[in-house]
């Protein structure tokens, strides 16, 4: 209750707008302030976030410079309804409105990062996006399957990369260096960038990042968390050519390499904090690599019935190699390589009947996998038929979508959407857990989803908007659902289940947004109806020494919640902001191998009630700024059976609540240099994000320096 009281007292001071927006106030704003007003482009049609009929968040470079996030997921962690779970220091997986992993969708410049091997529960792939290569990140909460296809259930994040700007008179070559150091893990991040122009029509952007993270130091009691550090190397480049002022061709590439990221919680080096029980493995580590290349065409302001054309052709390689050394010194090596070819076409056409956005998407994955098992003496014991997912496999995802933003009807604005998808899997080599023989599988599925949203301006002055909508999300069974033969959670092994079908989710949402000169506030309630979700069920068998779980379409349930966010400029230089999340959810599960024994229990790893309050000061000339932020989370004791048995990640009785304070300050030294300092977790509190395999950092002094020349 102390948390509630504290939050309510601060909320009493906290409703604000980042910039004033009344007519007179507009004219009093400096051009710097005017340039700080953010518009959201989540729908690829520039729009004021206030007028969008859903909850969004967008973060740009200015926000990055203020917060200096270490990873992309860390950049999202102040967003209501987003809980950034971390299985390991280098494996963060945001839960958005109760869902994570393959039930959230990550895009890089519109290209899907999700592929057909993404698994149930948290994954590591979001940590393979270098935040230093990004210009902007947008989050669309709730189902986005109609526009973005399979997996967009809890939310969709589009990470947009730097570069590709048209040339101006003063734009010559520009070099940029960035360095960030953090004390809690002796972390070092360095980046060099080059922005230049080959001629008046062609820009070139190159970037290289090198990162070294030593073992993360937790709070006062936990101290250093062994085997948590890892290195990372990133390269990115973008060549942009303006065929005409309105037609741009972009050729881009990015590479991310991560080495030796340990899942410490499942090893003997795991934490015993609050009664946690470390695993028994001597090693669980993974190397991760990702190479994305794409060619995109963006044509705008075309003088035809098609006003905009966006075409993207991409090749995405994602590879992982895992090492597991068991307590008896037996060694397992496994891995997956995925090559994904993507083609998307999106068109936009204005018409008297509304603005149409329509297009098609095609993705094909080529998947290979391996698994080798070695005896304690180092001799090869056996080579398995498949790795974590089926070897020698392909997976196709083809979709077509249409959205119409109808002409405004008085104060009412309506948007309707529909989408058709076809998914097909061809799994070449699957290990049969019963016979131990190789088998194969082919299957295909079709899905139709739709949705509609409405926004009503409540007053003529449009200080108040209400919105409501219903949207469907779907997820076709992927190779992980169908063929995964790998460790699942703690102490379980997931075996192939080829009999599953697409799962569907329907989200109902209503909210209100208000904005005045110095204050803004948004609140929404959402209810996601879960039908026939693919859930794990124990079989009662023991495979490779672990309890076998299989999957079936029998998870019915719901997740619902409330999210609030707002800010108020209490003084020209002082701004207070706050955010709040509450959610709950239940789903059918099968705790035993008896298929008739079904229980309704809390959804796994549900975000606890969480609040955030912050106070920021900006120097009148923007030379300096300072900020204090306090994050509060309640103890999460609403646990599923899987949570309770995940004893290396979730303490007995649940994950403790916490109150953590952070101080930040910045100095814009001149036009080309800025310095940011932060003291995170000021009180050196021991805490972990619910469901994580590692505690958050203890007191952490972070310094960041950005120099352009």
């Amino acid at each position: 209750m102390n948390v509630l009281l504290a939050l309510s007292l601060v909320l009493n001071e906290a409703r604000s707008a980042e910039v004033p927006k009344s007519d007179e106030a507009f004219l009093r704003m400096s051009m710097d302030d005017l340039m700080s007003i953010k518009l959201v482009t989540a729908t690829r049609v520039a729009a004021d976030s206030f007028s969008l009929p859903f909850m969004t968040a967008a973060y740009g470079r200015q926000d990055f410079e203020r917060r200096l996030p270490r990873t992309l997921p860390d950049w999202l962690d102040e967003t209501p309804s987003v809980m950034v779970q971390k299985t390991a220091y280098g494996q963060a997986s945001p839960y958005i409105r109760g869902f994570t992993g393959f039930r959230t969708l990550l895009l890089v410049d519109g290209v899907r990062v999700n592929n057909s091997t993404f698994r149930e529960g948290p994954n590591q792939y979001w940590s393979t996006i270098d935040p230093l290569s990004l210009d902007r990140v947008e989050i669309i909460k709730g189902p986005g399957s109609v526009l973005y296809g399979s997996d967009a259930i809890g939310g969709t994040v589009n990470a947009m990369t730097l570069g590709g700007q048209p040339r101006g008179l003063e734009d010559q070559e520009m070099w940029r260096t960035f360095y960030r150091i953090g004390s809690a893990g002796e972390s070092h991040i360095a980046r060099g960038e080059f922005h230049g122009y080959l001629n008046d029509r062609t820009s070139l952007d190159l970037g290289v990042s090198a990162k070294k993270f030593s073992d993360l130091r937790g709070g006062e009691e936990v101290g250093p968390q062994r085997k948590s550090g890892y290195p990372e190397y990133d390269v990115d480049g973008k060549l942009s050519y303006f065929v005409t002022p309105h037609v741009q061709l972009v050729l881009a590439h990015q590479t991310v390499l991560q080495d030796d990221i340990w899942r410490t919680h499942s090893t003997i080096y795991g934490s015993r904090w609050e009664g946690l029980v470390p695993g028994t493995d001597l090693e669980r580590s993974a190397d991760q690599k990702r190479h994305l290349s794409y060619l995109q065409l963006h044509a705008t302001e075309l003088d035809s019935f098609v006003e905009q054309v966006h075409v993207s052709l991409s090749h995405h390689f994602q590879g992982e190699d895992q090492v597991r050394v068991r307590g008896n010194s037996r060694r397992d090596l496994s891995g997956v390589d995925v090559h994904s070819l993507g083609l998307t076409v999106q068109l936009e056409s204005p018409s008297p009947l509304g603005r149409w956005v329509y297009g098609t998407t095609f993705y094909r994955d080529w998947v290979s996998s391996y698994s080798e098992r070695y005896l304690a003496n180092g001799n090869l014991d056996r080579v398995d038929i498949q790795g974590p997912v089926a070897d020698d496999s392909t997976y196709d995802l083809v979709g077509a979508f249409v959205q119409n933003q109808l002409p405004a009807w008085g104060p009412l604005e309506l948007t309707v959407r529909g989408r058709y998808d076809h998914a097909a899997a061809d799994a070449g080599r699957i290990g049969d857990p019963v016979s131990g023989l190789p088998t194969s599988f082919s299957g295909s599925w079709n899905s139709f989803v739709g949705g509609g949203r409405a926004l009503v301006h409540l007053d003529e002055e449009q200080h108040w908007n209400v919105f409501a909508g219903v949207g469907q999300g779907f997820r076709a069974p992927n190779l992980s659902d169908l063929t995964r033969f790998d460790i699942a959670g703690s102490g379980q092994i997931e075996t192939p289940s080829t009999g599953v079908d697409p799962e569907y989710f329907t989200t109902y949402e209503a909210g209100i947004k208000t904005r005045y000169d110095r204050a803004e506030f948004e609140a929404a309630y959402f209810y996601t109806d879960i039908r026939e979700m693919i859930v794990r069920r124990p079989t009662g068998a023991i495979v490779n020494g672990l309890s076998e779980v299989t999957k079936q379409n029998s998870g019915n349930g719901y997740v619902h919640g409330v999210e609030l966010q707002g800010s108020v400029r209490v003084h020209p230089q002082w701004t207070v902001r706050a955010g709040f999340t509450w959610m709950a959810g239940e789903i059918d599960s099968f705790p035993t191998s008896d298929p008739n024994m079904k229980v309704r229990e809390p959804v796994s790893r549900l975000m606890p009630m969480t609040g955030l309050v912050g106070l920021r000061w900006d120097h009148p000339k923007k030379k300096f700024w300072a900020e204090g932020v306090c994050t509060l989370a309640e103890k999460q004791d609403r646990l599923s059976e899987a949570d309770r048995s995940d004893t290396s990640r979730i303490p007995p009785g649940g994950t403790p609540g916490y109150v953590v304070g952070t101080l930040r300050a910045g100095w814009r030294i001149n036009k080309n240099a800025s310095l940011t300092a932060a003291l995170e977790n000021v009180a050196n509190t021991d805490y972990r994000i619910h469901g994580s395999g590692i505690n958050e950092s203890g007191r952490n002094l972070v310094l960041g320096m950005d120099v352009r020349f």
Partner: protein, 186 residues
């Protein structure tokens, strides 16, 4: 629903009802973009010096030309209504195709009026008129200032050479806010 959550909702509602914010004017969701740009126009007028003879008296109004069919026009009028710059009232002038555009001190063309851009730029190519657009390459094609979007925010392209060629002097503060481009009437 847990009792503690209901308690929180009650407290949050009380908090909401308690905060007092002075409402200064209207905000338009759909028109936010043009309110921002209207304020930029105000600043352009403030930080630009027109050549001698551009105004008949020290208090003559500064005329901002806008085509009335432009959907941005009513929003600009709302923002700029009754504003004064350096002692001069700002007056929005509804343009017609037959008007002498050179009588304006500043002309704004939104995306909806992009088809007029070339003819407007040509009509004032030798006159001290700050032409402001928001379509790609507007400033490269001879317009003085172009609004573009970067990082979700409004940014400026300024054709300083074209401005100086017709006797317009932009303060270093304004020139320093945008990306300098060249082209068109250079």
């Amino acid at each position: 629903m847990p009792r503690r959550f209901l308690q929180f909702v009650c407290l949050a509602l009380v908090a909401l009802l308690n905060f007092h914010v002075r409402v200064e004017a209207v905000d338009s969701a759909a028109g936010l973009e043009y309110k921002v740009k209207g304020a930029f126009l105000f600043n352009f007028a403030k930080f630009t010096e027109w050549p001698a003879g551009s105004f008949s008296t020290p208090t003559s109004p500064l005329l901002i030309g806008v085509f009335p069919s432009d959907p941005a026009a009513p929003i600009l009028k709302q923002v700029l209504n009754a504003a004064t710059v350096n002692g001069r009232p700002l007056l929005l002038k509804w343009l017609t195709p037959d008007d002498d555009l050179r009588s304006c001190h500043l002309i704004f063309l939104s995306r909806a009026e992009k088809d007029r851009a070339a003819s407007v730029i040509a009509a004032v190519k030798d006159a001290p008129v700050v032409t402001v657009g928001e379509t790609e390459r507007f400033a490269h094609d001879g317009g003085i200032i172009n609004f573009i979007q970067r990082d979700g925010s409004v940014r400026l392209e300024i054709n300083l050479v074209a401005a100086e060629r017709v006797g317009l002097k932009m303060s270093s503060k304004l020139a320093g806010m945008g990306k300098l481009v060249k082209g068109g009437r250079n």
